[in-house]
């Protein structure tokens, strides 16, 4: 593809992605009463906890096998087993995820064998330990996320009786977005199993009874029964088949799979709601028709302001796709699409529009900045890591995605569904307006007045 920029660099300058285990932690935070341990050196878990704590503003407890020199040379089995013991003792979880790090993978730790052995030794064969190999050198956090979801299902799902539920697999979106998706499902009166559900666990209400493991999360029993569901909706059209949880349920248990984009934007939300209608045979309630009408109203009200936007959209592939689609619907010109992941089949996704888009995969922010300058971008849409676009290039940034660490409320940013899209579009339009209103007097003055009084 000629518009795809091939990446030949030897050095990443300001990364546009995080590492695989970080992505793997997030789904485990969306299971009821679950804990995670990273098999590696202590720093990995601490860094990832810090990163996630800033975004979600929630305590993020993640264990580490705290590999030292000895463990690295002679194997870290003892460390991992001891780590599991301690986590069971302090947290008493219903499930533990074991993620590897590049260190554990490089020294060849076999976490499947270790975890089996552990369960036998402790005589707790039924306890769900979910192993996920996540070496940072193989993929980004996006792939780590989906692999973890898939491994959770693989470990728990059993052949089960047919039921009326619909499986909903979601990508890494905000807890507020998850709540909105649940509201839509409930509004359509659809029984569902949503995985991973970190809407409560990673955005917990204040209570006077703080628990070590937060309330909420997908119930393990529900995951066990996912194979009996009527269908799976996977909000993940950019997910590769081998990482796709929905594909796994389809191939292994025959659950029909619908792969849809994230419901951001009119068409994407229509697709979601119509698919729910098709699967369930239920009517779309008046409430959602009204919300749709309000979104149309919003699109009309703002279209001329939006027409001035020339955008860079960056972040995880699934979000980049949905946001770009929304931009196109509203006359905002997306010029640069960027992701740190290598798996972004953009060409097929946008049809005719593709030729106008510059797509950067496995990219970094120094590169993104440079391309944005060349393309006269005036609007950035993505996570906080794009802050230099504003600081160094003066391009305003509309924050969405993960991580949001330089503003409060990353966990509360709502962008999905008709209502979420309205809020998202307003944020974009108002950013363009703010930029315009703070500049146009002086720019008009410079452009048209200066020189008038010269004879």
């Amino acid at each position: 593809m000629k518009n795809k920029v091939v990446n030949l660099r030897n050095v990443s300058q300001n990364p546009c992605s995080m590492c695989m285990p970080l992505g793997g932690i997030i789904p485990f935070k969306g299971l009821e009463q679950s804990m995670v341990i990273l098999h590696g050196s202590q720093g990995c878990s601490t860094y990832m906890r810090r990163f996630m704590a800033e975004h979600f503003n929630e305590p993020i407890d993640v264990g580490s096998s705290a590999l030292n020199e000895k463990g690295t040379v002679y194997g870290g089995e003892e460390n991992l087993k001891k780590g599991l013991d301690n986590i069971l003792k302090v947290y008493n979880p219903k499930l533990i995820g074991i993620l590897t790090t590049c260190l554990a993978e490089t020294i060849g730790e076999d976490i499947d064998r270790i975890s089996l052995e552990y369960l036998q030794e402790r005589e707790m064969e039924d306890f769900p330990l979910v192993t996920v190999p996540t070496p940072a050198y193989s993929d980004s956090h996006t792939e780590g996320y989906f692999l973890a979801v898939k491994r959770i299902i693989t470990r728990l799902a059993q052949k089960s009786e047919k039921n009326e539920k619909v499986n909903i697999i979601i990508p890494n979106i905000s807890p507020a977005d998850i709540r909105e998706i649940k509201r839509i499902l409930e509004g359509m009166e659809i029984a569902y199993t949503l995985l991973p559900d970190f809407s409560e666990t990673m955005d917990a209400p204040f209570t006077n009874n703080f628990g070590k493991l937060p309330n909420g999360g997908t119930k393990l029993g529900d995951i066990r029964n996912m194979p009996g569901a009527k269908a799976t909706i996977e909000l993940g059209i950019t997910v590769e088949d081998h990482l796709s949880p929905g594909k796994y349920l389809e191939n292994s248990f025959g659950v029909p799979l619908y792969r849809l984009p994230l419901p951001i934007g009119l068409e994407n939300t229509d697709k979601f709601i119509l698919t729910l209608k098709t699967i369930s045979g239920k009517e779309v309630p008046e409430m959602f028709r009204k919300e749709r009408g309000r979104l149309q109203d919003c699109m009309i009200d703002s279209h001329k302001y939006n027409a001035q936007g020339i955008a860079v959209v960056f972040g995880e592939p699934e979000l980049v796709y949905a946001v770009t689609k929304t931009c196109l619907e509203n006359g905002i010109k997306p010029k640069v699409l960027a992701t740190g992941s290598k798996n972004f089949k953009s060409g097929q996704l946008f049809g005719e529009e593709s030729s106008n888009l510059k797509v950067l995969t496995e990219t970094d922010f120094v590169h993104i900045r440079q391309v944005c300058k060349e393309m006269d971008v005036n609007l950035a849409i993505g996570n906080s890591e794009g802050k230099y676009l504003t600081e160094k290039e003066g391009i305003p940034l509309v924050r969405i995605g993960f991580p949001i660490h330089d503003r409060v409320g990353g966990q509360r940013i709502l962008s999905v569904g008709y209502q979420g899209t309205i809020m998202f579009l307003d944020r974009i339009t108002n950013t363009l307006l703010e930029y315009k209103l703070s500049n146009y007097r002086s720019s008009m003055y410079q452009k048209y007045f200066q020189g008038i009084d010269v004879k």
């Binding site: 030897n10 050095v11 990443s12 300058q13 300001n14 990364p15 992605s17 995080m18 590492c19 695989m20 285990p21 970080l22 590696g40 050196s41 202590q42 720093g43 990995c44 878990s45 601490t46 860094y47 906890r49 810090r50 990163f51 704590a53 800033e54 979600f56 503003n57 929630e58 305590p59 993020i60 264990g63 580490s64 096998s65 705290a66 030292n68 020199e69 463990g71 001891k82 780590g83 301690n86 986590i87 003792k89 302090v90 947290y91 790090t101 590049c102 260190l103 490089t106 020294i107 070496p135 940072a136 050198y137 980004s140 204040f206 006077n208 009874n209 703080f210 070590k212 120094v366 890591e385």
Partner: protein, 455 residues
């Protein structure tokens, strides 16, 4: 009581002490236990923290992407010149590099960075897997330095070789090589000092440098806040080193004394009292009556300026109880004293990497009943904060959500801060921050059952 039912890990008991109960030596400077959810980071983190404020250096992380992602511009060190240090460069090692070795990629990465940024100084940080796959980064750095005729220092910071404190040492080793003079030792300048252990967070090193300037002492170079290649090269022209953050800089001060015969004094610029004492101590060292008089004048003026305001806060804060959990012992000790200036008792105090001598000093300072703990985890922090009835916690990003979920006030005393806490003005900022969190109206609305629960 729910709090008491929680289970503790027995091996951790040696690292927890309650003052006044039986005398025992607190276990510290040891490895973290697996599965304990330690708040500690890794060797690389320690090294990067210490070196990153060197503004005109290229900081190149040799490893997979994560390590560079999590440390990109997350610290509040300010620069009066170059902004190069605010970038995070990584060789972004992939699977093939892990299999076939990353030396060539590293050397190409250096070539690319030299061509683009023309640095005089590059630090190359090794990460976990580099330590395992056996890349000889010493050799690569040496060859590249010769090729480009600049200085390139490897930092041996593989995560598993120790804890954060080992990273401090690795950073100091790199600095020692950097400041090593040519054949002749330069002449020492009188009344010229180096300031070790200030990272110029929110301009803190500038504040202290101004004090010294006013009393007639030159600050030659700060390690490492706002330091540059040229400034560091003149480090051994100073006639005295003063050391603030002893955890990271003690070793460097000792080595410089040994090698270049520059003595050092321990100082602290946290709190009115410590700041005044430290200035007096340095002035007394040079044994010049005029200088000592100027120092007394400065102290008098500054205390007149800020003392009354701080006293105002003290009135409102007296009797409150604080919990402290910070990186190093130095900061913990300073905070205990500083809280005393505000009439606040420290009821729990712990550090990630405090040294034996520092814990002894802490034990001397605190009242009977105060809990002292090393390398604590969230479960312990929660337990003891509640048990001791702490009104506020001092900590870093990871600890903040825990405090808030418990309905406890919080002070960010980490490298992330955006306002200075050093010097006389810093003491006022500190008092203000403590007041703004401890006496915030929000607590009235979150404690107790509230309206919704009333019958």
């Amino acid at each position: 009581m729910a709090v008491m039912e929680r289970k503790f890990i027995e091996e951790r008991m040696e690292s927890i002490n309650i003052k006044g109960k039986k005398k025992k030596h607190l276990k510290c400077e040891s490895e973290s236990l697996a599965g304990c959810v330690s708040q500690r980071a890794c060797v690389y983190c320690g090294a990067r923290v210490v070196l990153n404020p060197i503004t005109d250096a290229v900081h190149l992380v040799h490893g997979p992407i994560g390590c560079a992602s999590y440390t990109w511009d997350i610290r509040g060190s300010l620069s009066s010149g170059s902004e190069l240090y605010r970038n995070s460069f990584s060789t972004d090692l992939k699977e093939n590099d892990v299999i076939f070795g990353g030396e060539k990629k590293l050397s190409r990465a250096i070539d690319e960075l030299v061509l683009k940024y023309h640095p005089q100084l590059i630090f190359v940080y090794s990460t976990c897997i580099v330590g395992v796959i056996g890349d000889d980064i010493e050799a690569v750095c040496k060859a590249a330095a010769r090729k480009h005729n600049i200085e390139i220092y490897p930092v041996q910071s593989s995560g598993f070789i120790g804890n954060k404190a080992a990273g401090y040492k690795a950073a100091c080793e790199a600095v020692l090589k950097l400041i090593k003079p040519g054949v002749h030792l330069p002449e020492k300048k009188n009344k010229c000092i180096n300031y070790l252990g200030d990272f110029n967070l929110a301009g803190e090193a500038w504040i202290i440098t101004h004090y010294f300037k006013q009393i007639g002492i030159d600050v030659n170079v700060t390690f490492t806040g706002d330091a540059s290649f040229t400034k560091l090269k003149k480090a051994i022209e100073a006639s005295l080193n003063i050391v603030q953050c002893a955890g990271s800089m003690f070793y460097l001060a000792q080595e410089i004394e040994k090698k270049y015969n520059i003595p050092y004094l321990n100082v602290s610029f946290l709190g009115l009292e410590d700041t005044a004492q430290s200035l007096r101590k340095v002035a007394a060292y040079f044994n010049d009556p005029d200088l000592m008089e100027r120092t007394e004048n400065l102290i008098k003026n500054e205390i007149e300026k800020y003392g009354p305001q701080i006293a105002g806060y003290r009135e409102k804060l007296t009797g409150k109880k604080a919990a402290v959990y910070v990186g190093g012992g130095f900061k913990a000790i300073s905070l205990i004293k500083q809280f005393r200036e505000l009439g606040i008792d420290v009821v729990m105090v712990g550090t990630q990497t405090g040294r034996k001598e520092e814990y002894a000093e802490i034990e001397d300072l605190v009242d009977d009943g105060t809990v002292v703990l090393d390398d604590a985890n969230p479960a312990e922090l929660e337990e003891f904060m509640l048990l001791k009835g702490a009104h506020l916690l001092v900590g870093g990003v990871k600890e903040r959500p825990l405090a808030y979920k418990l309905g406890v006030a919080f002070i960010d005393h980490n490298h992330d801060r955006k306002h200075p806490l050093s010097g006389f003005v810093g003491a006022l900022n500190f008092a203000k921050e403590v007041y703004s969190t401890v006496c915030s109206p929000v607590w009235q609305y979150v404690h107790g059952e509230g309206l919704l629960h009333e019958k």
